[in-house]
């Protein structure tokens, strides 16, 4: 745009400067974790900014990845995310399809029942008691099922399905297909973009979810990553990842280094899908902006 007066230039410089500052402030904590995780003991112990490291040392990673416990919880987390996401996406689509048909009797009633849960809920304790009496505690289902029919995701999917033109399914009706076949053969493939969005949504929630594991899982073998992260990062119980017997105290990584390495490996899955996340999440936000 032209007509850049002096005032305009000042405004623009302030904008660029502030955004650059924001960029640094947001990036620095991540950068520090990365640098700390590969720093040698000596460098990790120096005070101040950790902008770079002279010698790269992967001992902390080795020690974290050596422990059986880490792999067990990592595997549990992966299972939770994969099963939870698949189930949720299928359930959301399966539920949203009938609700996208405005001529379906009781459609409004059922939709309102879903919508109401976005405004009011039974709360932590009654939900806990229900899940306990269904004998779901200490199973993966306690973590997956309550979130699988999320009202918000169903509404988003319903809005998306309404935008699919009716002609696409009409020929299938004429061929005598029933609604389930139409959903399976036509609607599912057509709604891939919306499903990708919701899948990533659910996956991030499932990967990061914390409170439900804390409440429903008491069996140590069924814990997922956030539990061990809390133990190491917050409660400072990192001793099991620091093996002193290897080559003496001088070369063992510091507690902070081990913590950083643990953060790195447990955020890696998120960072790996981050480019997709950014793309599809933004699309999902746009879908949600359509008033239903």
């Amino acid at each position: 745009m032209k007509s850049n007066t002096l005032g305009d230039k000042v405004v623009l410089s302030i904008v660029y400067f502030t955004l650059f500052l924001l960029f640094l402030v947001t990036l620095y904590p991540f950068w520090q974790v990365l640098i700390l995780s590969i720093s040698s003991r000596k460098e990790a112990l120096t005070m101040g900014l950790h902008l770079s490291t002279k010698e790269v040392d992967f001992t902390a990673y080795k020690q974290v990845l050596q422990t059986e416990e880490f792999w067990l919880y990592f595997k549990n987390s992966i299972v939770r995310v994969v099963v939870g996401t698949l189930l949720s996406v299928l359930m959301v689509s399966l539920t949203a399809y009938p609700l996208s048909k405005s001529d379906l009797p009781f459609n409004k009633t059922i939709t309102s029942l879903f919508l109401f849960t976005m405004m009011f809920s039974g709360g932590l304790i009654p939900t806990y008691l229900v899940i306990k009496s269904l004998k779901l505690t200490n199973t993966i289902w306690a973590l997956i099922l309550p979130y699988s029919a999320s009202a918000y995701n169903i509404i988003i999917m319903r809005n998306f399905l309404r935008s699919i033109p009716g002609e696409l399914t009409e020929s299938a009706y004429i061929d005598g297909a029933n609604e389930f076949q139409i959903w399976y053969k036509i609607i599912l493939p057509l709604s891939k973009p919306a499903m990708a969005t919701i899948a990533l949504w659910v996956a991030v929630v499932q990967w990061n979810a914390y409170l439900d594991v804390l409440i429903y899982i008491t069996d140590r073998n069924k814990y997922v990553l956030p539990i061990i992260l809390r133990r190491v990062l917050i409660e400072n119980q990192s001793s099991m990842y620091i093996s002193n017997d290897m080559s003496g105290v001088i070369t063992t990584p510091t507690e902070e280094t081990v913590k950083s390495a643990l953060i790195m490996v447990s955020t890696l899955p998120i960072v790996a899908v981050y480019p997709f996340l950014q793309k599809y999440f933004t699309k999902g936000i746009m879908l949600g902006a359509v008033k239903g």
């Binding site: 101040g48 048909k101 029942l113 405004m119 229900v130 409170l211 956030p226 992260l229 809390r230």
Partner: protein, 319 residues
């Protein structure tokens, strides 16, 4: 249902049959709804029915239905107990601060990003500012512990180089702990919250800006008179929804950042319910606390939505 029957009132004989026929036609669709509705009933509506234990003296052996009624006992206890009053006020203070700073921050960020002409710079800032949203609070709390650590954390180092103080332990300081909660909340959420506003901004008609430039409006005037007004309805919607969350001060964040030194200023309803409910197993009282929280949220949402509709002549509300 009433509308349905009145619409076909001039053909009363066939209306009922038509309805049954409809249901047969839609049978498969209803079958498809079963898993979703089952989950809805089991994990949403059954717990809502379970709220009744807030009015009972729940004990494990007798179960939810057979435990004796206790009336409003737990609610009297909630409002007479100084601890719970403290916890309710902590919750309101923390989430009100988050609301006051958390609402304008993403708007300002979106407005700023909208002014950036350099595509790569804009993309870079966006990519980095969204990132914290995808990291769990456990990890963010760990990072904050490190940065604020009295042994060589970067923030205490900066402070002590200015003031000369030593051994600054910010995480255990009640005076600053809430500020740490609010700032870390902003750090984590602001970038991502701006997406919604950026999406709205991308739909503004460019000719409006062109006309304004011809009329001699400078950059700031354009932001104030064109860009900002286009966000009003979105801002109202976000505000209404945020008011419904007024007692949601964020379990994951507070639980992972609080410690015994700052309990007094940081304990919120959610962490309290977890502690007395799950850890100490006083199910009835903690359910009462939970019900108070859910009900307040619902009432706030309805109230703010109502007021906003009245103020804007039915134009902006969430439904």
């Amino acid at each position: 249902m009433k509308n349905n029957s009145s619409m076909v009132a001039n053909a009363p004989n066939i209306s009922k049959k038509l309805h049954i026929k409809d249901i047969a036609k839609y049978k498969m669709l209803y079958v498809m709804l079963i898993p979703g509705v089952l989950c809805l009933i089991l994990f949403q509506y059954l717990p809502m029915a379970g709220i009744m234990i807030a009015f009972k003296d729940y004990n494990l052996s007798e179960g939810i239905l057979k435990s004796p009624w206790a009336g409003m006992k737990h609610f009297y206890q909630l409002f007479s107990n100084p601890t719970s009053i403290q916890i309710i006020s902590n919750t309101i203070i923390i989430s009100l601060y988050k609301l006051i700073f958390g609402l304008p921050a993403p708007i300002i960020l979106a407005l700023a990003l909208n002014e950036v002409g350099n595509h790569y710079f804009k993309k870079l800032v966006q990519t980095i500012s969204y990132l914290p949203y995808f990291i769990s609070w456990v990890i963010v709390a760990g990072m904050i512990n490190n940065i604020l650590s009295p042994n060589g954390g970067i923030i205490p180092l900066i402070i002590s180089s200015v003031t000369g103080e030593k051994n600054i332990s910010l995480m255990t300081e009640p005076k600053v702990f809430r500020s740490i909660l609010v700032i870390s909340h902003l750090w984590k959420e602001t970038g991502w919250s701006s997406v919604l506003y950026l999406a709205a901004l991308s739909s503004i008609d460019v000719t409006q800006y062109e006309a304004a430039i011809i009329d001699g409006a400078n950059r700031m005037q354009r932001i104030i008179h064109i860009t900002l007004p286009s966000l009003y309805s979105l801002i109202i919607t976000v505000t209404i929804l945020a008011c419904g969350n007024i007692l949601n001060a964020g379990f994951d964040q507070v639980f992972n950042m609080q410690n015994s030194m700052v309990m007094e200023v940081s304990d919120i309803i959610d962490t309290y319910v977890y502690r007395i409910g799950i850890v100490q197993m006083s199910y009835s009282f903690s359910s009462a606390v939970g019900l108070f929280k859910s009900l307040t949220g619902l009432i706030m949402l309805l109230l703010v939505n109502f007021v906003s509709k009245k103020l804007t002549n039915e134009e902006s509300g969430i439904w």
